[in-house]
Amino acid sequence: MDRSRRNLLKTGAAGAALATAAVGYSGVLGKMSKGQWAGERPPSALHGKSLAPEFQVDAITGAITPNPDQRTAFTMCMGCTTFCGVRLRIDRQSGDVLRVAGNPYSPLSADPALPWETPVEEALHSLSRHGKRGLEGRSTACGRGAAVLEQMRSPHRVTQPLKRVGPRNGGEWQPISFEQLIEELVEGGDLFGEGHVDGLRAIRDLDTPIDPERPELGPRANQLAVIDAANDGGRAFAQRFSRLAFGSQNYAGHGSYCGGAYRSGSAAMFGHLRQMPHAKPDFRHAEFVLFIGTAPGNAGNPFKRQGRQIADARSDAGRNFEYVVIDPVLTHAGNKPSAHAGRWVPIKPGTDGAMAMALIRWILENEREDQTYLAQPNPDAAEAAGEASWSNATHLVVQTPGDHRDGRMLRAADLGLGSDEQYVVLPDDGDEPVAHDRLTGPARRYFRGQVTTADGETLTVTTSLTLLREAAEQHTLAEYAAICGIPEQTLIDLADTFTRHGKRAAANTHGGMMAGNGFYNAWAVVMLNTLIGNLNCKGGTVVAGGRYPEVAPGPRYNLVDFPGKVAPRGRHVSRNSQPLTDRPLEAPWFPVAPNLTVELFSSALDGYPYGLKALFLRNANPLYGIPGMAKHLEEKLRDPGRIPLLVSIDPFMNETSAYADYVVPDTFMYEAWGWAAPWAGVPTRVTTARWPAVESPNARTAEGSPVCMESLFIGLAKAMDLPGFGDDAIPDADGRLHPLHRPEDYYVRAGANVAWADDPVPEVNDTELALSGVDHIRPVLEDCLKPEEWRRVGYVYARGGRYEDEARAFEGTKTRHRFGGPMHLYREEVGTASNGLMEERFPGTPPGTRPASPTVARSPNITRNRSGRRN
């Protein structure tokens, strides 16, 4: 090759190589051209993007200077079902929430919480480190509470009513006006070109039965059902419409696909299968806590309080505290820095009942239970013995197969000793049976033998404790260990440790019970607490301290009663009542369960015991939340012939809303009204307030309210002239009727009940109105309330709710607010129930390893495997 050609080639090659180098380097050159900050340049080189503080505290005088560009609000987070009190910082110009922190008055967000009547200025001051207090007074939001704030301005929010175009789950929507929405929902018609759809007016028939041959199912109005997620403070309002005004029996929450198994198991222990009371450990004073799932810092309710109190307990060198987390999953609750205080014990999922029964067996065999506690037959004897609660361990249960009383508690009337309301026990030091409330001392704990009834019949009876022990002895410890995967020695160690702390030990669980056999698992776990008698005790378990009733008959406004109120009647569509026996059953019944959303769906779509004409979902997503549900029900849900009207009220689209006919926006978090209270775990009275600190982006109704659940139900009720809405809806203490046209008409008046509960609260002054940001809703308060009321309600809102002082939590070693009923080692309601499809009754005491009902192969509708595995 000649030289010039070669040189040309070489030059060309060199040029190409350089060009490649330049292209490859172009990104770097681009970054270099941006100068020092190739990435995003923050507003400050020292402290980045941090916000200006909302107030400043003078280092010497301690005086507060608020930041004029921001305002505060004490309100409620809705990131989870704890509904903590939080403190917002809002930018005055944009009206947006800048950051979420904790409300120092709320026991859910501060430990200890400030006394409730502390002036707001002092409360703000306590949040600072003035006076070398460091972080002592801090009040926080958890990670989720801080992050869920982003959803408020999410571009995915539904802000206008949407009507579907095309088939269900077609993904096409048409925004419609609120008026059109009301019109179509009420009157119905050929709404989608698929045929006539009954509107609510047609569905609301309170006289005609759904099935003339079975009037016990109730009137046609029951064919409206409402499902919500949790009681975030709006449930009472929704039920005012659906139950009390419209008259439908069918309202369900999320419990059946969430912690329902735990709540029902606890309900069996506490003896209230519908209200489902439960207790939580007193973490501040406990010496040993056994977590079954519900790992602190990962789960639990109240989430933040539990996490914080455990963190404090395990890092306090002077505190005698230990905890164990039993969980199939390793979480950071078991970590090396806390290894001196806490450890993780792995377990096979769904076998917690076996673990608990193993502990129960060992405790009873080695007599480590609190025998004094279990021996008390009635509350008076318990109090005389110094106990804080009592149990039915000594009460006799009929165990005579074939007898009609088999499985029932023996009654005093059966032996001619008293009434049907009295049970029967044997005294510790005698043989003669006696009515349970006649004995002033301890009764016999174990008995299996015969008694003679008033009619001369012989009945075999046992005490409840005997039945529990016999159930525990169904398996050896080795067998329990094999079932749950926890070594036998570990089980023994757990039982030993649990019973070494008197009443200052507790077993805690909640959602960790979500398995097909969760009901009995949960009951067995809470049985551990009963065996040491720790209810209502410092360091043991405590029920909720209660609330300051908002939706109440008074004392200022009657929000539970109104002229024309309907009493709903008939069976729930989710089959949670005694089985219908006149016909072969097509599905099991759940006489000991509350409203079950899971069963509601299958019932409604298959029309057994009856179908639904309209289903309203509020902030609920069962298609996503219930495992396997979508696959099972998708086809049927898409068929408008089965549930003809499907409405979703939700600030966001979700997997279930995708199938709806109408999606109605809802106010979200800090734009909304509501009143909520913690479920348990706070031994003092708490009512948390939620009020609109920021404007909602939703479309407006004619009254100027944002389109939301409340304004939807108000609009529907007014269009149908239902009682309890519109003019003359809310009676006050003098009987005068007040209007309900906007959400605030209801919630603010509920606030008056809060402010007047027991003793009326002080009035708020203008300084506090400004510092707490409540002056933002001052016009609303003045408009809805009487002159003597609005400042007291303002005082409540200025603190984000009303909270009893924590110093009042205990009287000595017992809680001030106690659960007074007995703990049930045997529960008659469960022991006499059956699901209708099987011959046997449910066991009336936790057996641990037997499922509640076997997999039913007969019914074609029941294809879920009850152990929780997918088919």
Partner: protein, 377 residues
């Protein structure tokens, strides 16, 4: 890293060191290795090393000029590089490197200039007209003492750069696989393998297949350094499994269970054996063992950087690195290769690299040495 653990929730971290770092370590390693191969000729004046030194010095220049370009790119905010000089952090090896590297580059260029001085003034007569003025100014009399002094200085700077590049990895205690004193030595040994390889490759491309002696010499250097790599590697494995450092042992034992890493180990071993086999069995085909040696040096560094970064510090699984196509990934690698090709073409054309001045032999006419082709290629 235990395959029996199912991880539910974790955070995946992005890699901090990008492929640019691999490029930089590769190129600077080649440069230093090549300089060390060149020094027996250009510093000590050993005559048998003359042609080896010639090609090696060219390799050292080419890669030494390309290396800092890649290094600058690895900074996520490259314009900030001057902060190294405004705010020196004397406790950081990388900060010291910000001084060592320019020193090395400067001394390398100075040494190369002194080596080429006599040839440059010749080139002023015979070379392209445009550059004759420049060449005349740069060229001149041979200065053997100065050349030796600059060679020594360049050697010291090279050792400093070698130390800092190895140490800035080896001090990272959070990554047990890096945290070993053997790592800087292994990087050095593999750099020598790579340098010999690149020299072999360029020898074939620029000079041709004729000079069997040089090729054989380089092949021997390649085999020798490969044996060093193998020895260090075996020592590393032995120390790892013997438990002298518990975290180290744990890291290695867990890796042996992972099929991806087993493949990695096999590939590395094969990648080392291949150039040695080619050098042993096909000694005349220097370009083959050269390519294979380059491949080994590069993939070793890729393995050390990117694969080790795919091991999370606090999690059970692996976080495999997916090479992006953009300038922080594939395009960057291709771009660096383009820069090297450019430098090969330009420097081999313009510099009188085949006629280095050797200190003791400065009075000999380099043109009379056997095997030398006087016309430019």
């Amino acid at each position: 890293m235990d395959p029996t653990i199912i991880e539910m929730v974790n955070v995946s971290r992005e890699v901090a060191w990008l492929p640019w770092a691999v490029q930089y370590f590769f190129l600077i390693g080649l440069s230093i290795g090549a300089l060390l191969i060149a020094l027996p000729g250009t510093l000590f004046g050993l005559p048998r090393w003359q042609r080896v030194s010639a090609i090696a010095l060219l390799v050292a220049l080419i890669t030494g000029l390309a290396a800092p370009v890649a290094l600058l790119a690895d900074l996520h905010q490259p314009f900030r590089f001057y902060h190294f000089y405004l705010y020196p952090q004397t406790s950081s090896w990388m900060a010291w490197g910000a001084f060592f590297l320019p020193a090395y580059m400067l001394l390398l260029v100075m040494h190369a200039w002194l080596v080429y001085r006599p040839a440059l003034s010749e080139q002023a007569e015979t070379g392209p007209r445009l550059l004759s003025g420049l060449f005349r100014r740069l060229g001149g009399e041979a200065r053997p003492r100065l050349q030796q002094a600059s060679g020594l200085a360049a050697l010291l700077a090279a050792l400093a750069v070698l130390t800092y590049t190895g140490m800035e990895l080896a001090v990272v205690a959070a990554r047990p696989l890096w945290h070993t004193p053997l790592l800087p030595w292994q990087l050095f040994a593999t750099a020598l393998v790579g340098a010999a390889g690149m020299a072999l490759l360029l020898q074939r491309l620029l000079v041709g297949a004729g000079d069997a002696d040089t090729v054989r010499h380089l092949q021997r250097l390649l085999i020798g350094s490969a044996i060093g790599v193998a020895a260090i590697g075996l020592l590393w494995l032995f120390l790892g499994f013997s438990g002298t450092s518990p975290s180290y042992q744990q890291a290695i034992t867990q890796l042996t269970r992972n099929p991806g890493w087993q493949l990695n180990a096999a590939w590395t071993a094969l990648a080392l054996v291949a150039p040695v086999a080619a050098a042993w069995l096909l000694p005349r085909h220097g370009w083959l063992s050269g390519l294979l040696a380059l491949h080994f040096a590069w993939m070793f560094r890729w393995s050390v950087f990117m694969d080790v970064q795919s091991l999370p510090k606090a999690a059970a699984g692996y976080q495999p690195y997916v090479l992006p196509f953009g300038t922080d990934g594939l395009l960057g690698i291709v771009g660096t290769a383009g820069l090297v090709v450019f430098l090969v073409l330009i420097l081999s054309s313009l510099l009188p690299w085949q006629r280095p001045a050797l200190p003791a032999l400065s009075h000999h006419d380099p043109a009379t040495l056997p095997g030398h082709r006087s016309e430019e290629v």
